[in-house]
């Protein structure tokens, strides 16, 4: 089965086949000259790719893997063909809605919009205080404020809904 590895804007297509006890890796259809050896059980890995040696630090789960090499970190989103189809369908279904969530725990200091307000991209929706800093949380795009999930002075956790926007009526 193929696995798609997304790093930033780029997507790599990989396929791993076991042949006579050895793993063969195809990257975008081409066979790689690679060996992958776990140095310990914690994520230290030695990779020899095309004769060059790399010390990698790996972490994560089946769908989100972080790879650190030479000090750089690559956050990889992985999905196989089946997961890819399911994820695509889910994305299609949620199109058009826009919910602004708290990216970190904090306190809503002030709401700057009301339900029904038309907003433009980047327009401040509310002020969120986190880590002793006041951050203006802007609208991700043009739209109308459909609902507000937080009130002034309320503490919110990371990932909690703040404001939901909907598309402007035509």
């Amino acid at each position: 089965m193929k696995t798609f590895v997304q790093i930033g804007e780029r997507t790599f297509e990989t396929e791993i086949v076991e042949r006579a006890g050895r793993l063969e890796v195809l990257l975008d259809g081409k066979l790689c000259d690679v060996t992958y050896t776990e140095a310990d059980g914690d994520g230290q890995v030695t990779v020899i790719l095309d004769g060059r040696s790399y010390a990698l630090s790996m972490g994560g789960d089946a769908n989100d893997v972080s790879v650190t090499v030479a000090g750089y970190r690559y956050d990889c989103a992985l999905e196989d063909e089946r997961e890819r189809a399911a994820n695509l369908a889910a994305r299609e279904a949620s199109k058009g809605g826009g919910t602004v969530k708290a990216v970190m725990p904090g306190v809503v200091v002030e709401l700057l919009v009301e339900e029904g307000d038309e907003v433009t991209e980047g327009q401040p929706l509310l002020i969120l205080e986190a880590m002793k800093m006041q951050n203006e949380i802007g609208a991700p795009g043009e739209g109308v404020v459909k609902s507000i999930h937080a009130s002034g002075g309320q503490a919110v956790g990371a990932g909690e809904k703040l404001v939901t926007l909907e598309a402007k009526p035509e």
């Binding site: 696995t3 590895v5 914690d42 230290q44 990779v47 010390a55 972490g59 972080s66 970190r73 970190m104």
Partner: protein, 509 residues
């Protein structure tokens, strides 16, 4: 000299103080909150006192608890580290009233330098150049708009009680002044319980240059040259170096003298740092940090002076053993802060459990770290986990050495700012020394394409390994089914048709 000192701090700075104290034959007492019970500073100290609590206010900031811990443990002096109570003049006074030595400056010096407005007045009187602006806080929006026109845009709106880059707003145009003033004042009130703000000119392409000072209680003082900390975002430093590339020897001596004047004006004792902004060849006083600073190791690397040792000596009443003419700069040092932050997402704090740590080594590499596998990184405390410091005979070699050392380092379980530091160090403009305090904010942090294909292949193999381990692992459900099956097979000899049916119904196959 003291026999035993209490360190009123946590993290890497507590370890830093413990190390020098141990080398000097002084015992260290650690204090800790409940969440820090297994922290490295507790393990490494000679004694440890639990303060209980989770948040700083319930532990490291609770003066009564800290003083009681010092009494209980028989410590003769308190080292405050940086942050927490280190710049609290009330605490400094209370330590002395309790009959203990305070490893820091006199309470009065902390108080003067801790208030932006009072310190500015004192510095102007002492002939230390300050940034054009108001010495008095502005009362309201109207006054702010009027005053801003006189000072000239862009304007920095600063909290009177602020520090460490907290509570500063920049306003670039008159039409934004009213809203910027309101936000800054609200933020100041929320953060410091003091909504007073003052206005000053925002300098173009400023560089952050600071001078390390050390005074004893007998009127002797030296400067230990400068550090440049222009690589910062939201006024929080990320990469620091010593010396600065913009100063020649004459300018260096001049700035050192100005810094000493600033220290003498407040009867300073101990280690302190005078921060300046450099813009267009001029320097302006920013603030004085009345404590040991995070980036002090780079000064230690280029001068060979152990600043914590000197702090302990002068706090014990000894005469400063170094004279200005004894000091010189040897080579170049760089420090990178290892903060638990996600540089790919606006440097937001990153929380998690540390794993898969790999520390760098090799010549002239120093790691001041409080990290260990299993450390829970939460939001209770500062995100700085460790500092990586290197020395080189010149700036280019120091940069190459830092790139090499970062390449050897790994911190798993959280994001760190290391990839951002690496991108700075590899930047041609940085290599040329052409930097200012906006340099980092202008960078988009992203990993280079170089290793992307390698990372993709490795990630796919990692996933494959996880799947294989999962298939082999006897997890609860399959194990249950497997046991039931084997029992069924045993029983099958006795009663074949029934047991076969039971085996087929067993869940978890």
């Amino acid at each position: 000299m003291f026999k035993r000192i209490l360190i009123a701090n946590r993290g890497e700075i507590a370890l830093r103080v413990i190390r020098t104290a141990r080398e000097m034959g002084i015992e260290s007492v650690a204090i800790h909150s409940d969440v820090d019970a297994s922290a490295l500073h507790v393990r490494m100290a000679d004694m440890a006192v639990s303060l209980g609590g989770r948040l700083p206010a319930e532990s490291y900031l609770d003066m009564d608890k800290v003083l009681a811990a010092a009494k209980e443990s028989g410590a003769e002096a308190i080292h405050p580290g940086y942050g927490f109570l280190s710049e609290n003049s009330v605490f400094a006074a209370r330590v002395k009233e309790a009959g203990l030595a305070w490893i820091g400056p006199p309470s009065g010096a902390i108080e003067t330098m801790g208030d932006k407005i009072v310190s500015r007045r004192a510095m102007t009187a002492a002939g230390v150049p300050c940034v054009p602006g108001l010495t008095d806080p502005v009362d309201d929006v109207e006054a702010a708009v009027a005053a801003a026109a006189d000072i000239g845009y862009p304007i920095a709106i600063k909290a009177a009680a602020g520090g460490g880059g907290k509570g500063i707003r920049v306003c670039r145009a008159p039409e934004d002044m009213a809203s910027a003033f309101r936000t800054a004042s609200g933020e100041a009130l929320a953060s410091f319980g003091d909504g007073r703000v003052y206005l000053e000119r925002y300098l173009d392409r400023p560089r952050h240059i600071e001078v390390q000072l050390m005074f004893d209680a007998h009127g002797n003082g030296v400067h230990l040259f400068e550090r440049e900390c222009s690589i910062q975002r939201r006024h929080q430093k990320l990469v620091e170096e010593a010396p600065s590339v913009v100063l020649d020897d004459a300018k260096r001596a001049e700035i050192g003298e100005i810094a000493l004047r600033a220290g003498r004006a407040v009867d300073y004792e101990g280690a302190g740092t005078v921060e300046f902004l450099w813009s267009g060849g001029e320097i302006f006083f920013l603030e004085m940090n009345t404590r040991l600073q995070v980036e002090h190791p780079i000064t230690e690397m280029i001068t060979g002076v152990d600043l914590v040792e000197q702090q302990l000596r002068v706090a014990a009443g000894e005469v400063l053993p170094i004279r200005q003419e004894d000091l010189s700069i040897h080579g170049h040092a760089i420090e990178v802060r290892i903060n638990a932050e996600n540089p790919f997402n606006g440097f937001l704090p990153s929380i998690g459990t540390l794993s898969n740590l790999r520390h760098p080594g090799g010549p002239w590499v120093r790691m001041d770290s409080a990290m260990y596998n299993g450390l829970e990184v939460g939001l209770e405390y500062d995100p700085m986990l460790a500092k990586l410091i290197v020395w080189g005979p010149d700036r280019d070699r120091a940069i190459q050495r830092m790139i090499r050392a970062i390449g050897e380092t790994n911190v798993g379980g959280v994001h760190t700012a290391l990839p951002a530091a690496l991108q700075v160090l590899r930047d041609e403009q940085f290599a040329g020394g052409d930097i200012d305090t906006h340099f980092l904010e202008a960078l988009t942090i992203e990993p280079p394409d170089d290793y992307a294909a390698l990372a993709a292949v490795a990630a796919a193999l990692y996933r494959n390994g996880l799947a294989r381990r999962r298939a082999l692992a006897p997890v609860e459900a399959s194990r249950g089914g497997w046991l039931a099956r084997s029992r069924a097979e045993t029983a099958s000899f006795a009663n074949y048709p029934e047991t076969l049916a039971a085996a087929e119904e067993t869940p978890g196959r």
